[in-house]
């Protein structure tokens, strides 16, 4: 298990700077949240960390090793990602079995069948679903498949890009419980993007508040539960948290 250090992560596209020197640390085995309004750059950070976007400056260290210098095969087995929209993240023409066996085939890992079976059990899907196609599954089931796909290479770090925002409320709770359950059992490190502070409160030990490509403040869960010495200092972070608490009260 390795900690993650992000140093001076920035992206400039033409004249526009999208991320401004983002730095944060994630301890091994913790769930770190990234919150902020739409367009603040939360998901972009995940795309950088997964190297889906590679035109960034700065340094990302995983257990002291530079992410960019990591060989592809090892990187795949270290960092995996769960996408926001389970309706778009599964290949519509591939059965669950194909979706799960492809990564194993790419890395020619042995005991394919056993690994697939174990992962299906881990994410709480019946094995009979292996031969279903995405359109035969509900949103929650699809997201479980997407999580299974991320787990199958046994990574240490999972990047969660608003994993529940496309799901309805009762299913959201199921998926969040599944994620925290998996973390408790397997000790994953999560970096989770969300705009829902209730989700962050439920999942994350610490979180960072983003605004317009800047990381304005890193806070602990106490800032949400009202522990006086852990309150947010930055005005934007305060505003965001107060608005969320006021909303919860109004509900």
């Amino acid at each position: 298990m390795n900690p993650i250090h992000v140093r001076d992560l920035s992206i400039t596209l033409g004249a526009v700077q999208i991320l401004h020197g983002i730095s944060f640390d994630v301890r091994a085995g913790e769930c770190f949240g990234l919150v902020g309004e739409s367009g603040s750059g939360k998901s972009t950070i995940l795309r950088c960390l997964s190297l889906l976007m590679s035109s960034w400056q700065g340094e990302v260290l995983i257990g002291g090793e530079n992410l960019r210098a990591m060989p592809l095969a090892r990187r795949c087995k270290t960092v995996q990602m769960v996408f926001q929209d389970p309706y778009g993240s599964l290949h519509p023409r591939q059965s669950v079995r194909t979706t799960l066996s492809e990564p194993l085939r790419i890395h020619s890992m042995p005991d394919r069948e056993a690994r697939i079976t174990r992962t299906m059990i881990d994410v709480g899907l019946p094995l009979a679903f292996l031969d279903r196609f995405p359109h035969q599954l509900s949103g929650g089931q699809r997201q479980r498949v997407a999580i299974a796909r991320a787990l199958i290479l046994e990574p240490e770090i999972l990047l969660l890009d608003e994993p529940t925002s496309a799901l309805d409320v009762s299913v959201q709770a199921e998926i969040l419980n599944l994620l925290s359950d998996l973390q408790a059992r397997r000790g994953f490190t999560y970096i989770m993007v969300s705009h829902d502070l209730a989700v962050v409160d439920h999942m994350c030990d610490r979180f960072a508040v983003m605004q317009k490509g800047h990381l304005v403040e890193t806070l602990t869960r106490g800032a949400l539960t009202g522990i006086p010495e852990e309150q947010a200092r930055h005005p934007y972070a305060r505003e965001l948290i107060d608005a969320s608490i006021a909303y919860d009260r109004a509900m």
Partner: protein
């Protein structure tokens, strides 16, 4: 109990055939595509059973019986050398079918490969490949095939090569457009995160998504291929006499058209029916494979 389902469900080859049956059933519900399927089935049957269906040998001349009108002896009449037109039409179906099959086999993979590679990589590779495609597209396909055949020498094999060379660009265009809508999807990103190579992503993630529209395009293309082949035959640059190619039959019959209408009418009707049939099937396939209807079936 759940594990009991596993071995049965693993019979993948049959699972792969299931959508085919669904598509066929969908086509059977529409009268136009039923007509198309029936004509194509007849064509295939005629090609397979040509020796049985033909009443005469296709090359047998009977100079005492030239330009005879349709009769019980010669169902569709005879041509200027006394050859039986019905028999020549039946044998000609083999030529037509082999042209369609060969052109499609060549055009499909070339178009898909060029289109998906250009669409997936984008940038300079895309520009270069699409400009080459544009050059091919900027000539009318018959004129370009004429040029190729003239350069390669007029015979059936060169006609097939020429038609294939001129009919891949629309397929490539289509595959590229489709690829560009899929390449930024999350499932492609996921495949990339899993360490899939570009080739693997193109073959396993992108090609299956492009296949339905490419297949529709190829089917519609078959109608054009028949017409181009007939056109080349008519101009004397395709199949050479005495091969019973339909276009070539019209070309030789043209001289006797005024007095002996059957010389051009029957091959003409055959060309019309077959190319219409492929068009109708293509239309039917478009409805059957429409991604928006995918989930409803």
């Amino acid at each position: 109990m759940m594990t009991d389902d596993l071995p049965k469900a693993r019979s993948v080859p049959f699972a792969a055939l299931a959508p085919l049956g669904r598509i066929l059933r969908f086509l059977m519900r529409q009268p136009t595509s039923v007509f198309g399927l029936a004509v194509i089935a007849l064509l295939v049957l005629a090609a397979i059973a040509a020796p049985l269906l033909a009443t005469h040998a296709p090359y047998a001349q009977d100079l005492s019986n030239t330009l005879a009108p349709p009769s019980a002896q010669n169902w569709f009449g005879t041509d200027e050398l006394g050859r039986d037109i019905w028999s020549r039409l039946v044998w000609g179906s083999r030529i037509t079918l082999s042209i369609i099959a060969l052109v499609t086999i060549v055009v499909g993979p070339i178009g898909l490969a060029v289109g998906t590679v250009a669409g997936y990589y984008g940038g300079r590779i895309d520009t270069v490949m699409m400009r080459i495609t544009d050059i091919f597209l900027s000539f009318p396909s018959l004129i370009l095939s004429l040029a190729f055949v003239a350069a390669l020498g007029p015979n059936l094999r060169n006609a097939i090569i020429a038609i294939a060379l001129t009919s891949w660009p629309p397929v490539a265009r289509l595959a590229r457009a489709e690829t560009m809508t899929f390449r930024n999807e999350d499932y492609v990103s996921a495949a990339r995160l899993q360490g899939a190579s570009d080739l693997r992503i193109i073959c396993k993630s992108i090609v299956p998504m492009c296949l339905p529209s490419v297949m529709i395009r190829l089917t519609l293309n078959m109608a054009t291929v028949i017409l181009t082949a007939a056109g080349l035959g008519f101009l004397g640059l395709g199949a050479q006499p005495p091969l019973p190619e339909w276009g070539a039959m019209i070309a030789t019959g043209r001289r006797y058209m005024i007095d002996s209408w059957w010389l051009v009418t029957f091959p003409g009707v055959a060309i019309l029916c077959v190319s219409l049939a492929f068009n109708l099937i293509g239309d039917g396939l478009r409805d059957a494979l429409d991604p928006k209807q995918m989930n409803r079936r």
